[in-house]
C-alpha cells in the first residue's frame, strides 16, 4: 500500500512538473506590467513602438525589388487587408510545407513577388513592416490555425518548451508554466504569451521580435540559442501562439 501511495505521489509530482496553465488562470503579459508601462503602451503618442509603425507605413507604400511593386500594390489598404493577419501567424505555407512566422512571410513576399533581397532579421525595416502589420490586429484575439498539417510542428514546439537545456538545465515550462507570477531577480515571471510582438522592450531600448526574445531567454539559461529563422524557433513560436489562443493582441507592446 505504502509503495503504491509513494508511486502515486511520484506520478503526481511528474504531472505537476508538466502542468499546463489552466484556461481560467491564463494571463496576458499585459497583466504583468506596471500601470506606468501600460499607460505608455496604450497611449499611441507615447508608445515608442509607434515610431516603427510609422516607418512601416511608409515602407508599405514604397516600391521595391526588380518587380517594382510595393506591398500596397498587391494588398491595398493595410487597415483592411492586414486586419487580423498577425493574429494568425505563424501560418502554414503549402509550398514550403512548413509554418512561417510573420517576418518570414514578409521576406517570402519580398523574394517571390517583389523580387527583392530579403530583409535582415532585426533590421529596422523588417521590424517596421512587422510592427505596422501587427498593429492592424491590435485588440483582436489570437487565432492561429491548427490544421493536421501543423500538428507535427506544434508537437515539436511543445516538446522544445518542455525540454531542459543549457548549463542551468531549465526548460521554458519550468519558469513560465510552473513559476509564473514569482520573481526572477527583480522581474516578475510572465506566462510567456506572445501577444504584443514585435515589442518595444525598455531593456533593449528598441523594438525586437519574438525570436530575439526567445534567444534572450536561451542565452539566460546558458544554452546555445536558435539561429534566427531556424525551424525549431518557428515551431516554438507556433506553440507559444497556440498556447495564447484567444488573448487580445496588443502589438506593438511595451515591456520592461
Amino acid at each position: 500500500m505504502r509503495a503504491l501511495l509513494a508511486a502515486g505521489f511520484a506520478l503526481a509530482a511528474v504531472t505537476a512538473a508538466f502542468a499546463e496553465i489552466a484556461p481560467e488562470a491564463r494571463r496576458s503579459g499585459d497583466d504583468f506590467v506596471s500601470p506606468e508601462i501600460r499607460a505608455m503602451q496604450n497611449d499611441e503618442t507615447a508608445n515608442p513602438g509607434m515610431l516603427w509603425v510609422l516607418q512601416g507605413e511608409t515602407l508599405w507604400a514604397r516600391k521595391a525589388g526588380a518587380a517594382a511593386r510595393s506591398c500596397q500594390d498587391c494588398h491595398g489598404d493595410a487597415m483592411a487587408s492586414m486586419k487580423g493577419v498577425a493574429a494568425r501567424y505563424p501560418a502554414f505555407d503549402a509550398v514550403l510545407a512548413r509554418p512561417l512566422d510573420l517576418e518570414q512571410r514578409i521576406n517570402r513576399c519580398r523574394t517571390e513577388h517583389q523580387r527583392a533581397e530579403p530583409l535582415a532579421w532585426e533590421s529596422e525595416d523588417l521590424l517596421a513592416l512587422t510592427a505596422f502589420i501587427a498593429r492592424q490586429s491590435r485588440g483582436l484575439p489570437i487565432a492561429v490555425a491548427t490544421g493536421p498539417e501543423l500538428r507535427p510542428f506544434l508537437d515539436l514546439g511543445k516538446e522544445l518548451f518542455r525540454q531542459r537545456e543549457g548549463q542551468l538545465n531549465l526548460s521554458c515550462s519550468q519558469c513560465h508554466d510552473d513559476n509564473w507570477g514569482k520573481r526572477l531577480a527583480g522581474s516578475v515571471i510572465p506566462q510567456g504569451h506572445p501577444t504584443g510582438y514585435p515589442i518595444y522592450r525598455l531593456e533593449w531600448q528598441s523594438l525586437g521580435s519574438l525570436q530575439r526574445r526567445l534567444r534572450g531567454c536561451m542565452t539566460g539559461v546558458r544554452a546555445q540559442p536558435f539561429d534566427y529563422g531556424a525551424p525549431q524557433a518557428v515551431a516554438l513560436e507556433l506553440y507559444l501562439v497556440e498556447r495564447a489562443r484567444g488573448m487580445p493582441m496588443d502589438a506593438p507592446a511595451v515591456r520592461p
Binding site: 505608455m40 497611449d43 503618442t45 507615447a46 515608442p48 509607434m50 515610431l51 510609422l54 516607418q55 525598455l202 531600448q205 528598441s206
Partner: protein, 106 residues
C-alpha cells in the same frame, strides 16, 4: 531625418493649458559603451530640445547621457493665440531637426 511623433490638441480655447507630447527616434548613445571588439561606441545624444510658440521659447530641456533612447518629452503651455509651434532637437554635433505644427486658438 529621424522619425517624430508630436501630439497636442489642434484646436484650443484662449487661456487653456494644453499638454504637448513629443517622441523622437534617436539611439542616445552614451559614449560609455563598448562594442564587441572593445572599442568605445562614440557618444551620440540629443543634448537640447526647445519649443517655440510664435517665436517665443516656451519650453527648453537639456538632455544627458543617462536619458533613454527615443526620448519622450511632455510639457504644457498656455494657448494664447493661433500660430505655429516649432520643435527643435539639437544633437552633440549641432545638427538640428525641426518640426513645425499649427495650432488654432479661438
Amino acid at each position: 531625418m529621424a522619425r517624430v511623433l508630436i501630439n497636442f490638441p489642434q484646436r484650443a480655447k484662449r487661456g487653456e493649458i494644453i499638454e504637448i507630447k513629443t517622441l523622437i527616434q534617436h539611439p542616445m548613445e552614451t559614449g560609455y559603451r563598448l562594442d564587441s571588439k572593445g572599442a568605445v561606441i562614440p557618444r551620440d545624444i540629443i543634448s537640447r530640445f526647445t519649443c517655440a510658440y510664435n517665436g517665443d521659447e516656451v519650453f527648453r530641456a537639456e538632455l544627458f547621457p543617462a536619458i533613454s533612447a527615443n526620448p519622450f518629452i511632455a510639457f504644457s503651455t498656455l494657448a494664447t493665440e493661433s500660430g505655429e509651434l516649432v520643435f527643435s532637437w539639437i544633437d552633440d554635433n549641432g545638427q538640428i531637426q525641426s518640426e513645425i505644427r499649427q495650432i488654432t486658438v479661438e
